[in-house]
Subunit: 203 residues, 2 copies
């Protein structure tokens, strides 16, 4: 009985095992989280169960940009005050949130849903690229900003996109200074993200 598993009821063990899958929680912190939740059943545990089920049902990718929202088009695409002439291309929704948190971009977004990665078997058809080319062909779009990570996959994806967007009448730019080599956008401080957006340069 060194794992202690036998003495935790199956419902509780199942909850702990699922909590332990969350990024940032391990087996021990999952137990602490389960104890916390059981102590806060009405204020936190039941609302969290409901919020998970509701988000799983309602939150879907925006058919225009790929952002996750419960409305389609998403709140950003539907926002008439945003600058529809600039589309910022990001790897995933976490990076979109990072740019929004920094207040670095007042235009629209396009979420690729990943990066090209031959080693992981991710090709152009696995990403939301066709819709991006379609959007970039619209007359209203003047600029596409490639806000992709400064990793090998990020840069080869940027290269692929710049080739496929060459036929569109848009200025292609990418984030410039401030993005550390090998770094992920989501971990950057807001000043760096804002500076990188301000000094973007032709792709």
């Amino acid at each position: 009985m060194p794992t202690g598993k036998g003495q935790i009821g199956p419902e509780l063990q199942r909850l702990i095992d699922l909590l332990a899958k969350l990024p940032g929680l391990g087996p021990r912190s999952a137990k602490r989280a389960a104890l916390y939740l059981l102590k806060k059943r009405e204020p936190v545990m039941r609302p969290l169960a409901y919020a998970l089920a509701e988000a799983a049902d309602k939150v879907a990718a925006c058919s225009t940009c790929g952002n996750w929202d419960s409305i389609d088009p998403c709140a950003i695409c539907a926002d008439a005050e945003r600058d529809g002439s600039v589309i910022c291309v990001v790897q995933d929704v976490g990076d979109l949130w990072a740019l929004e948190r920094a207040g670095a971009h007042r235009g629209l977004y396009h979420v690729l849903g990943g990066l090209l990665s031959p080693l992981d078997g991710v090709g152009p058809d696995d990403l939301n690229i066709g819709r991006l080319v379609e959007r970039a062909r619209a007359e209203s779009v003047k600029e596409v900003v490639l806000a992709l990570p400064a990793t090998v996959d990020g840069q080869s994806t940027a290269h692929y996109l710049s080739e496929h967007l060459a036929g569109c009448a848009v200025a292609l730019t990418r984030l410039s200074q401030g993005v550390p080599v090998g770094g992920e956008l989501d971990y950057l401080d807001e000043g760096t993200l804002a500076a990188a957006m301000k000094t973007r340069r032709p792709a």
Copy 2:
């Protein structure tokens, strides 16, 4: 819009806010957890919603020992192979799990549900003490081990319990070497916990 809240849909924002309440997760890691869950809707997100609701419904305190389980008496109290003559008193279920993980105790438990703490307004009536005295009066019980943290509240609770159990015909012991002063049981390594249980001494 520096918080970026306005651009995350209400269902998603509610989910992130609730996840951020979990111990070990902050606002940023809650966002990462939400993104992870949305990517794993069927394998993790829906099962987690179900497990939370099920545990909130079914898991309750054992009417004998106070351990959390979906059956009453709990699996430990109902286990005929455990030594019913020794009752180990712990602060909460997390400490019970820590002792079980260490395989340090083959008897039964008693979960107080907290520690006496005049500063926080926690008195004897707020803890599961009456039931402990009742259990300790049973002829089959030979020993009560006070496995309480080596903090001021833990030690004053141990003192209070040893006074109230003085009338019962049980040997009163407490964990000995290995428990660091000011330390919480749940954070100890298993070898230390096992050693402390082995060298327990009269209270």
